[in-house]
């Protein structure tokens, strides 16, 4: 049994039973899972975790759903890579790249959906759904294929069908809604009320979101049971960012790493959609929603549900937020690919460019142990960096080749 007690409103602290609920009926605050930390701390240990499955489910004691092999597609436990070339280029001595772009459906969304789909089956749902323009759609659809659940993915009609090919391939029903993002938002909210489905980021959101805690646990374990000095992560809704911090702190409270956690959490957004980072830079805790216009499509959430909590995480951790210019998104993608052989999507480019700014400003110092989170794969958004393709066109002769590359083998 999962070590959970209840759901609790993050604003007024009212408790609710463990059910598919996400909002407090009294104050309309978001609900969060409350865990039985005495039970968790009594049952967990470094040895137990280290001998667990090589997936995010090695941290099952800390998750709000029981492990279910029916839904598991082996999400998580992705590589933490010690950077050599990028670190040198940025002047950092100890930089690590958390490469979550190699999850089964190629983004960190497998973590949240892994928990959401296991919980959905526990609740007795036979259908899982989401509104997504990319990564979430793929993760939901892949988990549905594995578990035998039906899947519905809602997209705005102006989105090219090819964008959700990586969801359609798994057999999900793709529903193209005639209208803008706002219209899709509203429709999904209505559908979630009407149908008994597990809408991953609506009625099972408290469970879904906690899947991202594993990004904190894993980094701590992979660093030899310690938290980094700095963590740099991209943000859309802000949920993942807050859960990395929560994961690190739960590990500290359980005695698995030193307490207190001294990690500085740095949030990265692109200029075309930076409601959280802009609030930080304006020194306010009220998010001003924006209409997204960014090439970092997977971060394009103009009205971020967890923006306020992400700002509180920055404050609590002594971190910061960075806005990168739109042209720096693809530059970051190229920099990571060129230096480390990792091809990420726009969100990763945002994180890398933010990391660069943080080192240039001296916020991250050369000796500070730093982790940058790469959350999605570049193969899904190749159009972002199409300009790197400049093939040498030659006649099929050795001379032509050597003339083209300006080299001679002596």
């Amino acid at each position: 049994m999962a070590n959970t007690i209840s759901l609790r409103c993050r604003e007024c602290s009212r408790d609710y039973p463990i059910e598919p609920l996400n909002v407090c009926e009294f104050c309309f605050g978001p609900l969060e899972v409350v865990y039985d930390y005495d039970a968790i701390n009594a049952s967990t240990s470094r040895d137990k975790i280290a001998s667990g499955p090589r997936s995010m489910w090695r941290y099952a004691d800390f998750l709000p759903a029981d492990y279910n092999p029916v839904t598991d597609i082996n999400a998580g436990f992705t590589p933490l890579i010690r950077s050599r070339n990028l670190a040198e280029e940025l002047g950092l001595k100890e930089l690590y790249i958390k490469n979550d772009s190699v999850n089964p459906s190629y983004s960190f969304k497998d973590r949240v959906v892994s928990v959401a789909s296991a919980k959905a089956l526990e609740f007795g749902f036979d259908t899982i759904a989401c509104a997504s323009t990319g990564n979430l759609a793929g993760a939901v659809s892949a988990h549905a294929a594995r578990s035998g659940m039906k899947a519905y993915v809602f997209i705005p009609s102006d989105l090219e069908a090819g964008k959700v090919l990586t969801a359609a391939i798994y057999g999900a029903t793709i529903v193209s809604v005639d209208g803008s993002y706002d219209v899709v938002n509203r429709l999904c909210s209505e559908l979630a009320d009407k149908y008994r489905w597990a809408f991953v980021n609506i009625n099972v959101r408290p469970f879904y979101a906690d899947g991202s805690k594993t990004l904190g646990y894993e980094v701590a374990e992979q660093l030899g049971w310690q938290a980094p000095v700095h963590a740099v992560a991209p943000a859309a809704s802000g949920a993942m960012f807050t859960k990395i911090w929560k994961g690190l702190n739960e590990f500290a409270d359980a005695g698995l790493i030193d307490t207190p956690v001294n990690t500085h959490m740095h949030l990265a957004q692109a200029e075309g959609c930076s409601p959280i980072a802009s609030a930080y830079l304006d020194d306010r805790f009220i998010i001003k929603p924006v209409k997204p216009d960014s090439v970092a499509k997977s971060l394009a959430i103009g009205n971020p549900a967890d923006g306020y909590y992400a700002l509180k995480t920055i404050e609590a951790s002594g971190g910061s937020a960075v806005v990168v210019e739109e042209n720096e998104v693809s530059e970051g993608v190229k920099l990571l690919a060129r230096t480390e052989g990792i091809f990420t999507e726009g969100a990763g480019g945002v994180a890398i460019s933010a990391l660069k700014k943080l080192t240039q400003s001296g916020t991250i110092k050369p000796n500070d142990q730093t982790v940058v989170y790469i959350t999605g794969n570049g193969l899904k958004t190749v159009e972002l960096v199409q300009d790197v393709v400049h093939p040498l066109l030659i006649e099929p002769t050795v001379d032509a080749f050597e003339a083209a590359v300006d080299t001679k083998v002596s």
């Binding site: 509104a131 979430l136 980021n201 609506i202 959430i301 549900a305 967890d306």
Partner: protein
Amino acid sequence: MRRVRLTYLDHMIRQPVIYQMGKDFDVVTNIRRADIQENIAWVILELEGDEIEIDNALEWASSLGVRVDPALGDLVEG
């Protein structure tokens, strides 16, 4: 019933938008949560009434410069 998040900037904070909404449109308004600061404010508002009337009321608020968003945040994720 619909729940929305209204965001007010600067001068709009001093305007009785929700009161006026209830007078000019056939909707029942109910503030569930709010945070009002000097230069920016948000309100989670419940509206009851005919769907078209709610649409009209929110469109009117938008036309004044109040931003209207889903109360749950954006559900369409990347």
